[in-house]
């Protein structure tokens, strides 16, 4: 084992400093959304009022740095477009709780903003948690009425009813009746969605953590999914696109968020769109810069050590 060079402790302290200090400043950052993000937002924008989305929430507190931002951005968009949704989880028993908390947050924000609260039962329902992600997702793909059949919720009068009695689920007979399936995930559920739900010809999209971007890119390239947002960049992309639209010219004739992926423009969604992504993204820059510098130093040390060896030999 080789020791020497910068002590570990110093490296860790540097990282803490780099991840903390920039948080206290507001720094505007230029951005070009990635193609999958643009496709993601385009598909979301194409939803009409009254459409129903099956929203998988397969993340927990451990990835809240990214997934919470995804979830929030998606929920804000769906609620503003008045699209109904069903949330369900299959990855972790903690996930439903995490999703419900975000919904409550977005609803509180809507109320503060003098918008209507998005009503449980009439506008959205929760289908709860199912253990064994692969089997559960397959069950939903094959027969959603049986899979969600045993779930019950309070209706507007406080009476427990099967969720299929709710206005949200009225037209849902099979998974193909959903207008869009989205999975916000930090785990393998992407694979299972592709394995079982993509076979049913339902438009499918993912919001994944940064680690999963390369794998999800494969599904995107082979048209197994319509689009995806990945990592903190995905959150930032979404927030920017919601705030400024795509290819929309501002007063000075400048385009704030440009993409050659789509012809024409998508108008911004009114409301509070800026959040986690915009807060964290500048800090991420500093951290990445630190990373590059550390790699640089490491390589410099190696090269100079080699030179010394050569000089001695």
């Amino acid at each position: 084992m080789k020791k020497g060079g910068i002590p570990k402790f110093v490296i860790y302290a540097l990282l803490i400093a780099c991840c903390s200090i920039p948080l206290f400043f507001k720094i505007p950052i230029p951005n070009k959304p990635s193609d999958p993000s643009v496709d993601f937002y385009k598909t979301l924008s194409a939803l009409k009022e009254g459409d129903v989305v099956l929203l998988g929430s397969d993340w927990t507190g451990s990835t809240r740095g990214e997934s919470k931002g995804h979830m929030k951005a998606i929920l804000r968009t769906l609620m503003r477009k008045n699209v109904k949704f069903v949330i369900w989880s299959s990855a972790d028993p903690q996930s439903p709780r995490a999703a419900l908390d975000v919904i409550a947050e977005v609803n509180a924000e809507r109320v503060a903003n003098k918008e209507e609260k998005f009503q449980r039962w009439t506008q959205w329902v929760s289908a709860g948690f199912y253990p064994n992600a692969d089997v559960a997702i397959n069950a939903v793909a094959q027969d959603v009425r049986t899979a969600f059949g045993s779930r019950r919720e309070n209706d507007t009068n406080g009476v427990q009813q099967q969720i299929f009695k709710s206005p949200v689920m009225q037209k849902i007979k099979s998974v193909t009746d959903f207008d869009l399936v989205i999975d916000v995930t930090a785990s393998k559920t992407t694979d299972f969605h592709v394995q079982f739900i993509s076979a049913k010809n339902v438009p499918l999209m993912f919001a994944v953590t940064g680690v999963m971007v390369p794998e999800t890119q494969v599904f995107y390239n082979s048209n197994q999914i319509k689009g995806f947002i990945g990592g903190l960049k995905g959150v930032f992309d979404m927030e920017q696109m919601m705030e400024k639209g795509i290819n929309v010219k501002d007063a000075n004739g400048k385009i704030a968020v440009a993409s050659d992926k789509i012809s024409g423009e998508i108008a911004p969604l009114p409301g509070v769109s800026v959040g986690q992504g915009t807060k964290y993204y500048p800090t991420l820059h500093v951290a990445l810069l630190l990373m590059i510098i550390m790699i640089g130093i490491g390589n410099y040390e190696m090269i100079s050590a080699r030179k010394r060896q050569k000089g001695n030999g």
């Binding site: 080789k2 060079g5 910068i6 570990k8 490296i11 860790y12 990282l15 950052i29 230029p30 951005n31 070009k32 990635s34 927990t60 507190g61 451990s62 990835t63 740095g65 903690q94 709780r97 419900l100 908390d101 409550a104 199912y130 253990p131 064994n132 089997v135 559960a136 397959n138 069950a139 094959q142 027969d143 009425r145 049986t146 899979a147 059949g149 309070n154 406080g158 427990q160 007979k173 390369p214 794998e215 890119q217 494969v218 390239n221 960049k233 993204y281 991420l284 820059h285 951290a287 990445l288 810069l289 630190l290 990373m291 590059i292 550390m294 790699i295 130093i297 490491g298 390589n299 190696m302």
Partner: protein
Amino acid sequence: MNDTIWARNPQGDLKMFIGGGLILGIVLFFGVMQTPIQARRPLVWLVTFLSGGFMVAYTYWPKPINFDAKTELPKNGVETVGSFLQQSFGVVSSFVQIIAAFLLGLGIFSLLRIHLMNIARQKKDWVFSVILLVSMLSMIIFGYWDFMIRQGEKAVDFDDPQFWRMPNMVRDFLFDGLLQQMDAAMFSIIAFFILSAAYRAFRARSVEATILLGTALLVILSLMGVVAGAWDDKVAALAGDGKTGSADFIMNFKITEVAGWLKNTFQTPAITGIKFGIGLGTISMALRIWLGLEKGGKA
């Protein structure tokens, strides 16, 4: 309500049926226990084969076209079997989920055993075993207590803290206050390790390592909006406004373009290739288990 053999009215004789089922189950359990040694392997294999066989049959059996099994009748023999498979799919899936859930107690049992033993024998660091057991028990107690309260008063919106009572608060403290935060903290440790690993091991030692390093740096740079923006502006300035061939050529060297090209041209097929191999490995493993050729899957 009309009872069938399988579905009984809870207000009627259901309890009797469940009791009967339980007795049947116990008989089954002890029956299996008496299996002679030479029949054990075949028995385990048979169970595996049948459960796998259902899925395989489900896959290969032609299914009815556009078929809503709940309200419409199948037309012919092929469709009847298909619809049977379709309808039992949910039930079979739930079996797996239930059995897997039953097995969860096994882990907790093993955890209890190890730590109780530690305490009983006063092994080194047995105090930590006490801490573990205490936090586990308090989570179980307050978790269920909170759940009972929520179940008891369904009309109250317990997501709103103003309705909380003591157990709700303690559960929230244990779950949201501690468990979730510790989860996130443990996850964030990785970043520190990544940084130190990058410094220690990410060096251009060989051709392979250099390739790895170069690509990683390029992708990191393309993720930094500031750098990407500056670089792309430079490239655009270099290309100029003219619609000449060279300008079009230079425009390809925007960092976002290059990183995208790397992703689409090398990263995607590399991952596809690896995953295809893993997929084949998985399917062959699955076959071995299903057909009883694997050691781990049989007695």
